[in-house]
């Protein structure tokens, strides 16, 4: 049987990539003295990767817009902080319980999704974000109100995760796990059902897919990923407040998924890395360089760059970074025989 020549996935480089992820901090440490700063940025990216992978399952695969994922992250972070610090559950148990609690929240938020879709669903989930913020302030005995909450360090089977170095390995172990699980989900019956709901509800129903059940399930799974990210967020940042989880963060999550390429797990990962590194590393570096020549207001410039990136991606590269990578791969694979027009 003739297999597809270049459309099936090449899995050989994945173990290499995983090893590279684990070697990266050692490389960074030897390369620069300020490695902790860079590691911290990668840690943020790692936590967000877990969330955006879940968001991609919801928005990219099932086609349900969510502007409330910062709120899911907040619920996860606060739930874990309360479970571990105030109720006294071990961190390992919180890692299991919190995602389930946040998943159930997602399940509840999923109810409107049965009736509304698109931008309206986005607005509904956004409203959910505001409600969560109010609730966090209202339950001030537990959450510390608007003043924020200090969170203990994570203890993993007797080993305390102390600093950014330890955080990196913990976060990326879970991030890799999350990516693998997400890939398994979208490549199975579940993922096929989600994509069918996105592209053709009729075909989905004719194939025996219960729309309501699978939409809710998508919200539940996405919520679980967000909850998991929330646990890691709380216990690696050591301080959480309502200012962490504002509406802008939800929009950033959507941007990450969009830039990476809607509907591909690796795309969400790439998009998250791209945006987080861009925002925290490259734009500040660029600004530092630019400010020697022209006077710049730091933040304004950042917003401008982001707008530009979004615009360029939507116009020229709607399949995102991952789509770009796939095209490049094909280009090099058949390199001497590249009819140029194929890839435009």
């Amino acid at each position: 049987m003739i297999k597809g020549r270049y459309d099936d996935e090449n899995l050989k480089w994945i173990p290499v990539l995983i090893i590279a992820v684990y070697l990266f901090p050692f490389l960074l440490k030897s390369a620069t003295f300020s490695y902790k700063y860079y590691l911290y940025i990668f840690n943020i990216a790692g936590v967000y990767i877990i969330l955006t992978v879940g968001l991609d399952i919801l928005s990219g695969f099932t086609g349900l817009m969510s502007l409330g994922h910062a709120a899911f992250l907040a619920i996860g972070a606060y739930t874990s902080a309360i479970l571990v610090d105030q109720i006294g559950l071990p961190f390992e148990l919180s890692l299991i319980i919190t995602p389930i609690i946040v998943g159930i929240c997602g399940f509840v938020i999923g109810f409107p999704a049965l009736r509304i879709e698109g931008m309206y669903l986005g607005l509904t989930t956004m409203g959910f974000g505001f409600i969560v913020k109010r609730l966090i302030i209202a339950f001030r005995e537990w959450t510390g109100g608007a003043g924020g909450l200090h969170v203990s360090k994570a203890t993993f089977f007797g080993y305390t995760i102390r600093n950014d170095w330890d955080n990196y390995f913990m976060i990326y172990t879970f991030a890799i796990l999350a990516i693998i699980i997400a890939r398994r989900i979208v490549k199975s019956k579940l993922g096929r059902a989600f994509m069918a709901i996105r592209d053709s509800e009729q075909a989905a129903q004719a194939s025996g897919i219960n729309l309501a059940k699978y939409k809710m399930m998508s919200f539940f799974i996405s919520g679980m990923f967000a909850g998991f990210a929330g646990v890691l967020f709380a216990h690696t940042n050591h301080f959480i407040s309502t200012d962490h989880f504002d509406i802008l963060l939800s929009i950033f999550f959507i941007v990450m998924v969009l830039v990476g390429g809607v509907g591909s797990i690796y795309g969400a990962v790439l998009g998250t890395l791209f945006i987080v590194l861009m925002e925290n590393m490259f734009i500040p570096l660029f600004e530092d360089g630019m400010s020697q020549f022209v006077h710049l207001e730091a933040g304004e410039f950042q917003v401008f760059i982001f707008g530009l990136i979004m615009l360029l991606f939507i116009i020229f590269q709607p399949q995102g970074l991952y789509g770009m990578w796939l095209k490049m791969r094909i280009y090099w694979k058949i390199f001497p025989f590249n009819p140029k027009k194929r890839f435009t």
């Binding site: 940025i41 302030i137 933040g299 950042q302």
Partner: protein
């Protein structure tokens, strides 16, 4: 196999290039200081003015020859009032730019967020630009590294309630507070005062950014409050007082330090007459010794008119505290010596702040305020430092 060799050699190259740590932020000619401001977030108006005020004083000191022959250089980072970004900025300043200490970081939640890094790297934070009373709490993470200069909101509220009850023991006090970390702190102070005087304060909350206060004012009228404390920023006292005057309600209004802004007097008009605000420093246009000096320097360095004012002066005066600490840290400053130097301040008069005292058990600095009343549309100081 060939690839492997290449990779290993690259790895070795990186290891060989590894740099050594210098003494952070201090060279023979320069002291590097990190500042994190909100340059593009909700409070970006302050983000431009505060560091400009600090730089005015540094410029003056540098022209005098600097601190022990070292010029002071300040790097300003942006956190957009987002705690996450504040952490990134602090890591950048401490790990990458290798600053000697942090100074004047604005915002309560942002300062709270960077506590773990301060503790981890033992970096002092001098004069955080927040009036949260929990900032100087030594029992918290990195409490020993933070030197607070402003009187906390809880203390301010306490002082205001004391002042009200001293003047009128039958006063019924109402409180309008913002529903965030700021209001949280005000509530704490009010709670303390309530139990101390065994009174009850009528508390009305509003959301950050609210523009309609008829509900709150209506409730205060129902509760027949005679004295009302407004814990807002600039807009809120103006709207509250105008609403109250429109509704025929005229209690004595008080405000916490953020309401002590000349714009309140300008915009509130007759409704704002008699409004009393607490402040943790002298007015920039007063006769206090440093305020006079400040105006001289503003003339000398041609500071734009738009910058001059309360916040510019605030940046300026905290810079003076920092420089005093650096002076006391000695000729070869280390972070520990800076902390020890700061802790030798005993009733030190900055010329604008109330006398500042630090020791190893107390990093609050000051616990007093002056009260400023609007008389005939002009802000006038009506008390000495009270606590």
């Amino acid at each position: 196999m060939k690839k492997m060799t290449v990779m290993i050699s690259i790895l070795l190259l990186f290891i060989a290039c590894g740099k050594q740590a210098p003494t952070p932020g201090v060279t023979d000619t320069e002291i590097l200081i990190g500042n994190i401001q909100d340059l593009s977030g909700p409070m970006k108006e302050l983000g431009a003015v505060l560091p400009a005020g600090s730089n005015l004083y540094f410029q003056y000191i540098n022209e005098q020859g600097g601190v022990h022959g070292r010029q002071i250089k300040m790097i300003v980072e942006d956190h957009q009032y987002n705690p996450q970004k504040a952490v990134v900025a602090a890591k950048k300043l401490i790990e990458k730019d290798q600053v000697f200490c942090l100074y004047h970081v604005i915002g309560t939640s942002t300062c709270e967020a960077i506590r773990p890094i301060l503790a981890e790297t033992k970096t002092p934070l001098i004069a955080p630009a927040t009036q949260s009373g929990t900032m100087s709490d030594l029992s918290r993470t990195a409490g020993d590294l933070i030197f607070h200069t402003d009187t906390g909101y809880d203390k301010q509220t306490n002082i205001l309630i004391d002042y009200i009850l001293n003047n009128d023991s039958n006063a019924k006090i109402g409180l309008i507070y913002q529903d965030d970390d700021y209001g949280e702190n005000v509530l704490k102070g009010a709670g303390e005062a309530e139990s101390r005087h065994s009174i009850s304060v009528q508390k009305e909350a509003f959301q950050r950014g609210a523009t309609d206060f008829t509900g709150q004012v209506g409730n205060l009228i129902k509760g027949s409050a005679t004295h009302v404390i407004i814990a807002g920023v600039v807009k809120e006292p103006i709207i509250v007082m105008k609403t109250a005057s429109a509704m025929g309600f005229s209690p004595q209004f008080f405000g916490t330090s953020p309401t002590m802004d000349h714009r309140v007097a300008l915009a509130a008009g007759p409704a704002g007459e008699g409004f009393i605000a607490a402040n943790f420093a002298d007015l920039w246009n007063s006769d206090a010794s440093e305020a006079v000096h400040y105006r001289e320097l503003c003339d000398k360095y041609e500071v734009p008119e738009a910058y001059m004012g309360m916040y510019h002066f605030y940046g300026y005066i905290t810079a003076k505290v920092l420089v005093e600490g650096l002076e006391r840290a000695g000729k070869n400053p280390t972070r520990n010596r800076l902390i020890n130097g700061m802790e030798t301040l005993k009733k030190w008069d900055s010329g604008a702040f109330p006398p500042i005292t630090y020791n190893s058990n107390d990093h609050a600095g000051t616990e007093s305020v002056i009260l400023v009343q609007i008389k005939d549309g002009v802000q006038t100081v009506i008390t000495d430092w009270i606590d």
